[in-house]
Symmetry: C2
Amino acid sequence: MALPHAESGQIIDISPLGSRLRATVSTALFKAEDLEVMRLVLLAGKGIPPHRVAGEVTIQCIEGVVEVSSQQVRTLDAGKMLYLRGDEVHSLRALEDASVLLTIFLDRRSGKLQGGVSAGISAGLASP
Amino acid sequence: MALPHAESGQIIDISPLGSRLRATVSTALFKAEDLEVMRLVLLAGKGIPPHRVAGEVTIQCIEGVVEVSSQQVRTLDAGKMLYLRGDEVHSLRALEDASVLLTIFLDRRSGKLQGGVSAGISAGLASP
């Protein structure tokens, strides 16, 4: 998380990490007023425990394979994405080493979020 | 635009189109309460004339090369993205046949948008 966040108009590289994946940590790429984009790096078998965010999210698999469990269980490989309604409990688990782009609408109307997404996901990453 | 929009949790394929690109039209992949995601297909030399949307947007190049002009001119190839603040005038132009993922925050606070994004972009696509 040591990288500075991107500014409006700045180019961000979200290419597959390939051989660098295992040496790369999850990063908040930017956090603007209404949107936050994170690249999660999940090693096979690791994941994010069940959680919810107030706003809608998109989950895009850049490489590897990741399982997204909400009301249903979906498996995303490279080039696949889905979105989830706000407040929908979901979890992630990598079936193969994966990098995943999360785009989160920072729904401030509810008063629930206010910057807790990155912290919550980071906490999740620390546990197996 | 004849495809039905994806529902929450439904898998969406945004893989590079490759040889199918020239036979594929731009599509609104889904439009939820706060986020809209579109895949633009831009043939080399074509683009979207200058416009603005109320909310923040991310522009991700899936394949090909696209030039994004706002306060600065940026060139995105596959695996590169950027975001733009809301209300920032910008235009797109493909330098090579490209597919581009747009994620748009539907900022309804301003009362300016209300579904005009797809229509505006479709209108833009129709012109050279």
